[in-house]
């Protein structure tokens, strides 16, 4: 299983970063969102730390949808999905591989979103870095576990992005709230005394959707019905 997962990760990374248009589309959309939100600030004003964190996570979520869409579209070109399904390794290896590839891509996208948020929305990273980093990783994990599961949902469907967004966003709400809650703390340095609760929630979300991904992916990712 591990070998297939690694093969999928390597192939997806090669195809997206080295041979494809990579993250360009997803990055542009995310940056555009941050920029558009920066327009809501009047002269001399700046968005509250909470709003800035929300914008950051919104950009990440949109970027995520495009990315998983792209990752699963790779198999649709010449129907290689069927080839993957014939592998002796469990099908979940594909889910895991795509989730990890998505995780790495999302983290790299966030390396750009974060400075963009700081610059355009006039924030500084003054909060304690520990919890912020932990929540960043936890939230990304949950987003990728769910994203990798839902990415398989639209297999063989043309209007994938819109479809994914409709289902993805509401399901993601708890995680986005957690990310926003702690993100606000990272931006203004005020501890809202809820951080341990948010960390717990994000961990619970990750656990539930990692398990759901493992259990349900095999149903979704199948030959033609």
């Amino acid at each position: 299983m591990l070998r297939m997962t690694l093969a999928v990760i390597r192939k997806d990374m090669t195809l997206t970063l080295l041979r494809g248009n990579g993250l360009v589309q997803a990055l542009l959309l995310g940056l555009l969102l941050i920029f558009v939100f920066s327009l809501s600030q009047g002269v001399g004003e700046s968005l509250s730390a909470r709003s800035a964190a929300a914008v950051f996570w919104l950009s990440s979520a949109f970027c995520q949808i495009l990315m998983f869409n792209q990752l699963y579209a790779l198999e649709e070109v010449n129907n290689s999905r069927l080839g993957l399904l014939l592998s002796p390794a469990p099908i979940q290896a594909i889910w895991l591989g795509k989730a990890i590839a998505g995780f790495v891509l999302l983290l790299s996208a966030q390396c750009i979103f974060l400075p963009a948020t700081v610059i355009f929305l006039g924030k500084s990273l003054s909060g304690p870095p520990g919890p912020s980093l932990v929540i960043l990783l936890l939230t990304d994990t949950g987003m990728c576990a769910l994203g990798s599961l839902l990415g398989a949902l639209a297999q063989g469907q043309t209007a994938r992005e819109a479809l994914l967004g409709i289902v993805f966003f509401p399901l993601l709400t708890p995680l986005l709230l957690a990310g926003t809650g702690i993100g606000a703390q990272a931006f203004d340095g005020i501890d809202p005394d809820g951080s341990s609760a948010w960390l717990g929630l994000a961990s619970a979300f990750d656990a539930i959707f990692l398990a759901a991904g493992l259990l349900l992916f095999a149903f979704l990712y199948a030959g033609d019905e």
């Binding site: 080839g83 014939l86 033609d224």
Partner: protein
Amino acid sequence: MLELDRVARFYGHNLVFKDVSCTFAGGSMSLLLGNNGAGKSSLLRIMAGLARPSLGTARFTADSPKIGYLAHATFVYPALTALENLAFWRDVHGLDNTETDLLNVLARADIAGRAHDRAGTFSRGMAQRLNLARILLLAPDILLLDEPGAGLDAKSQALLRKEVLHARGRGACVVLVSHDLARDATLADRILLLEEGRLAYDGLPALFPPLADVEQACYA
């Protein structure tokens, strides 16, 4: 090696076929015939485990056999080179071939010269040969072919035939879906005909009575 027990397939409420029961042994080559829409491809996918039968069961009698499936779709990633494509499938199937092995396989499939070119620049015939290389690398116990020769030139077709016969020779169970009865019936040692939603004929090619009629029906 492969056993079908009263397999049926519906699309929505439409019956495609039902009550298909047969077993396939190693070292045999079966030719699966039928009109368009008779469900040949569906049956082949059920055999490969890529689709669930609506009723009945399909199971392998051997322990976790390697399954090769070669159809019209080439399974090729256009942005990867031929060698990278092959290396990916090697990892997916958990094989341990070295790069030299991969190059040898590409040579057998007659595309060694383009090993480091991106598959996106290949013609359909070459992409299909790369797909064949994937099968050669896997050396499957069960080889399922769904009109793999469609759109290939004579040379590629000959290569394909040679390798299919070679696979049977080393004991693989081969099932071939084809339209070219006149040519492929000579290769096969068994003919299966899907007609009117059931298995209408299952036996030796020599005893297959309406050879000419069926051929006509195939092209109708």
